[in-house]
Amino acid sequence: MSRAHYSIFSVLRESLRGHTGWGPAWREAEPKPDYDVVIVGGGGHGLATAFYLAKHHGPLRIAVLEKGWIGGGNVGRNTTIVRSNYLLPGNIPFYELSMQLWEGLEHELNYNAMVSQRGVLNLYHSDGQRDAFARRGNAMRLHGVDAELLDQAAVRKMVPFLNFENGRFPIHGGLLQRRGGTVRHDAVAWGYARAADRLGVDIIQNCEVKGFKREGDRIVGVETTRGYIGAKKVGMAVAGSSSRVAAMAGLRLPIESHVLQAFVSESIKPFIDGVVTFGAGHFYISQSDKGGLVFGGDLDGYNSYAQRGNLPVVEDVLEGGMALMPRIGRVRMLRHWGGIMDMSMDGSPIIDHTPVSGLYINAGWCYGGFKATPASGFCFAHLIAHDQPHAVAKAYRLDRFATGHAIDEKGMGPHPNLH
């Protein structure tokens, strides 16, 4: 029974009959000739968009078109961290909505996504960095987000094994968001897919969009590898490939595609409780429930669609790890991989109309897309349903670069590889 409600009773029932009664979590849908809304991209954001459209804005006939398979893209390639510790007014309310949606996600989806609010600790290593973190923490608290500025003693109590007396980068303290943490990434995709399917959304896998069909300046459908599908509205949520898909509609985006590498070690006993980030280089680490250390660092820094990176960044990330916590030096690396990021020109995302009527864009997530998944879907669904941006996402305009309203959290200017 694919539509069964998951509960302690269903687990008990299935455990008594050898787990023979679990059906597929969602239907294998065949494309229909037309829909009210077609979402291009069956990643976390596309599935979340379909779910919130069906839940809050229905009844609508909705399809999600996925080139590969559900959970096979960036939603399954990230380092699973969720947080809302942003600085700028354009960002904080959006990411805080996302955090609140994470907090209620498992009940909303009836799916165990292993949401674990284990805390995100950003370390500072100088007086200047402490001041910057105090400012960030204050900005968060002014928006009602939890933030605590810790001194060295408090950090020592939480994570005593860090290299506090590092000659170049001594650890003076950290900015802690206790509500941040990790979520099992592929369960997010599966949970949204199952919940959307239960609301009647068609999830169509192995269906690549090859072009948009227009009448005048209006989208009327998409050409796919499984034939033509008509649509009143089309939303693209294909971060990593946004430029390629948008080019089919004649758009040129403020985005470059870059590769970001991530790493997992062999499984070890419980060691790191929360998420810890090194403020002197770029290194962040957490421990998965299976015991592997999950970590990453900077972008490789050049345009790429290759889903694999180069060795200088591997070296740089591991150096950061060794500077922060030398005791991981004997842990063996299990695997590493690369994912393709939509790096926007100001480091912030885009959720907006496009100049093509009926075509909506959700793109530019840089390497912060996973934590944004629920709010991205929520706000994108709102935009598609009402033709108006949601209040917390109204800064994410496609034309903000032309009008001088860039949201440059890091202050790097129009250099996508530096955000």
Binding site: S243, R244, A247, R252, L253, P254, I255, E256, S257, G301, Y302, N303, S304, Y305, A306, N310, L311, P312, E315, D316, M345, F401, A402, P414, H415, P416, N417
Partner: protein, 98 residues
């Protein structure tokens, strides 16, 4: 990925800094549509999945600016030129746009 600098030979990637798309050209500020052209020049990129002409700076080497042609999906480099030569081979700039 290693880059064959025309002056230094094949060198590791960590000697170089990346500076993005080499095909965007600074518009003429005197053009009546200069504002839009500068938005496009500063922010919009073709970001093609195939071959990409891009600027690299040999910061830990000879300090040359290079134009590298590279396959974005494969990372295979097909040519490395000195950016100065590329600029000189293009149409000379008009007086107004210098």
């Amino acid at each position: 990925m290693r880059i064959a600098c025309p002056y230094c030979g094949e060198r590791s990637l960590d000697e170089f800094l990346y500076s993005g798309d080499a095909t965007v050209k600074r518009p003429d500020f005197a053009s009546p549509t200069a504002a839009n052209e500068f938005v496009s020049y500063t922010y919009e990129r073709s970001n093609p999945p195939g071959m990409h002409r891009e600027l690299w700076y040999h910061s830990a080497g000879c300090h040359a600016w290079l134009v590298v042609t590279r396959g974005i999906a494969t990372h295979a480099i097909t040519s490395v030129e000195v950016a100065r030569d590329v600029a000189l081979n293009e149409k000379p700039a008009t007086k107004d746009s210098i």
